[in-house]
């Protein structure tokens, strides 16, 4: 930083309060992952961003080809009420989670982001 043209304001000792605050403690217990996918139920969920379904459909194809006896559920293809944009996006997330739970997944693979 070039400080050569900075005015000579008075230097002083400050005791300043950190405005950043501490972060949230970890409150969500993350779940251990499966040792193998053979014979398991894998649910794929899509956040409706363009081509997320294409990507996940390809993942589903590869899973079916490479993993023995895996049950694959592409949530967006079987849930007729998904998604409905509305004034309550937080409620929509809970609704989605409750629906996915009904499939009794062993693991969920989500597509997120843009």
């Amino acid at each position: 930083m070039n400080t050569s043209n900075r005015a000579e304001e008075s230097v002083q000792e400050w005791e300043l309060v950190n405005p950043e605050g501490v972060k949230q403690p970890e409150v969500v217990k993350l779940n251990p992952h499966l040792g193998a996918l053979e014979g398991k139920t894998v649910v794929l969920t899509w956040n409706r961003k363009p081509n997320g379904d294409v990507f996940l459909s390809r993942v589903a194809e590869l899973l079916a080809k490479e993993v023995k006896d895996v049950k694959i559920i592409k949530h967006w293809e079987i849930d007729p009420h998904y998604p409905i944009p509305g004034p309550d996006p937080a409620g929509f997330g809970k609704q989605l989670a409750a629906t996915v739970l009904e499939y009794k997944p062993d693991i969920v693979i989500n597509g997120q982001g843009d």
Partner: protein
């Protein structure tokens, strides 16, 4: 899903991986399992997308089968806030804070222990009270930290109850502040009603949403500073808006011009069930600000131009609009017998766009969304590309506030979502 006991693997493009990690940490899920895939997914061919899946697949399998739950980090106490000793002049302090991510880059008043203590005299709330855990960073906002940012913003202690009342609404899950790091800029919009407007000098007449009004600006700057520094909504990551907007620097705070409400028009807070003598904040958010139509010369032409301005498909059924009518156009409409409810109904019927526009804006699910919108099937029957669809979910999503000074132009904030009202308690 993790909270429900289901392990997850989340696939995120490289452009969004930092946001994903910050957002998951902010929700208490630090160390969540991600698989990063090169950006983008959008605007490329099906074959290119599938090729990315082919490359990522071994990593997805590894994540699903071999990922281990990380060890949780130790948690520091939120109160009292850390203090730091620093030697330098004011500009040195500003550079020090900015380099650490402790400011937005706007000049500020250094928050000394003494100045924070003085600011806390503006509220009866305990300084260690936790008000909010702000996404995406998951920063803990105590009353003390609110005072820190109020000092930085040049606020007066008597603004503290208003600021705290705003935060209490922004923290509601339904307010959905977590969306603020989306690819469009989002900022809070606050309407203040009741005696406190004049008590602390909140502007409600000429330029109410603009410069030169200290209370409005200091309150708005405090809110923006909190969501930037404690909440971590920073550019370029995790805030993903390609362009941003100046309204993100100072959140919008305006008083309603209750002195010049037309006969029969209730104040904004009274419409939501408060008494006229209550001091209330109504907190929404927005993604855009513009003039609302033209004056037209006749009431009918004015309302027609309002409707045309609002007929934009991207407004979508999840948003609303905040209409800002200065006293002159409000009186013009009221003299012709228009009430707020009648204006809302008119806009509901006339601010529409064809369903074919929806399909262009939402390529995959625009028509589906329209077909499944509550009440649409009953009211409109089969939705075709020519069906005219309203741009908000219901007439009530058009919020009308009389604010501003002399002048005939009206304005609006778009995609405002819901407004949440809160009593201001000193």
């Amino acid at each position: 899903m993790e909270k429900l006991g289901i392990p997850t693997v989340t696939i995120v493009s490289s452009r969004f991986i930092s946001l994903a990690k910050i957002a998951s940490e902010g929700r208490g899920a630090a160390g969540l399992c991600f698989v990063e895939v090169p950006h983008p997914f959008e605007l490329i061919s099906k074959e290119q997308v599938e090729a990315k899946a082919d490359v990522a697949f071994p990593e997805i399998i590894k994540a699903a089968t071999q990922w281990k739950v990380p060890v949780a980090p130790q948690q520091a106490k939120p109160y009292p806030a850390e203090t730091v000793k620093f030697t330098g002049n004011v500009k040195d302090v500003e550079d020090f804070f900015f380099d650490k991510g402790w400011s937005m880059g706007v000049p500020f008043i250094p928050p000394t222990k003494n100045s924070v203590a003085a600011m806390l005299k503006g509220t009866t709330r305990r300084p260690d009270e936790l008000l909010w855990v702000i996404p995406p960073r998951g920063g803990l906002v105590t009353v003390e930290e609110v005072a820190v940012h109020a000092v930085m913003a040049g606020a007066e202690p008597e603004y503290m109850p208003v600021i705290i009342a705003i935060i209490e609404m922004m923290r509601k899950e339904e307010y959905h502040w977590v969306e603020n790091v989306t690819t469009s800029p989002v900022w809070p919009v606050v309407i203040v009603n009741g005696p406190i407007v004049k008590e602390i000098g909140i502007a409600y007449s000429t330029g109410t949403g603009g410069r030169d009004h200290k209370a409005n600006i200091a309150i708005g700057l405090t809110i923006s500073s909190i969501v930037d520094v404690i909440g971590g909504s920073k550019y370029p990551v995790p805030n993903m808006s390609p362009v941003g907007n100046p309204a993100e620097i100072v959140s919008v705070v305006m008083g309603e011009n209750e002195d010049e409400l037309p006969e029969g028009w209730e104040p904004f807070h009274v419409e939501t069930g408060y008494k006229k003598t209550d001091s209330v904040v109504s907190v929404g958010r927005s993604m855009g600000f513009y003039m609302l139509g033209e004056n037209g010369g006749t009431v009918e032409d004015m309302l027609w131009s309002f409707a045309k301005t609002l007929s934009y498909a991207k407004q979508s059924l999840s948003g609303g609009a905040l209409l800002l009518l200065p006293p002159q156009p409000a009186a013009f409409l009221a003299r012709a017998g228009w009430t707020k409810d009648r204006i809302r109904e008119y806009l509901w019927e006339n601010a529409r766009s064809p369903a074919s526009w929806w399909r262009r804006v939402f390529p995959k699910d625009g028509l589906t969304a329209a077909k499944e919108a509550p009440g649409f099937a009953e009211k409109y029957g089969p939705i075709t590309p020519d069906t005219l669809l309203p741009t908000v979910a219901s007439p009530e999503m058009y919020k009308i506030v009389v604010t501003g000074g002399p002048g005939s132009h009206s304005f609006h904030y778009k995609q405002t979502g819901q407004f949440f009202t809160n009593l201001i308690k000193k």
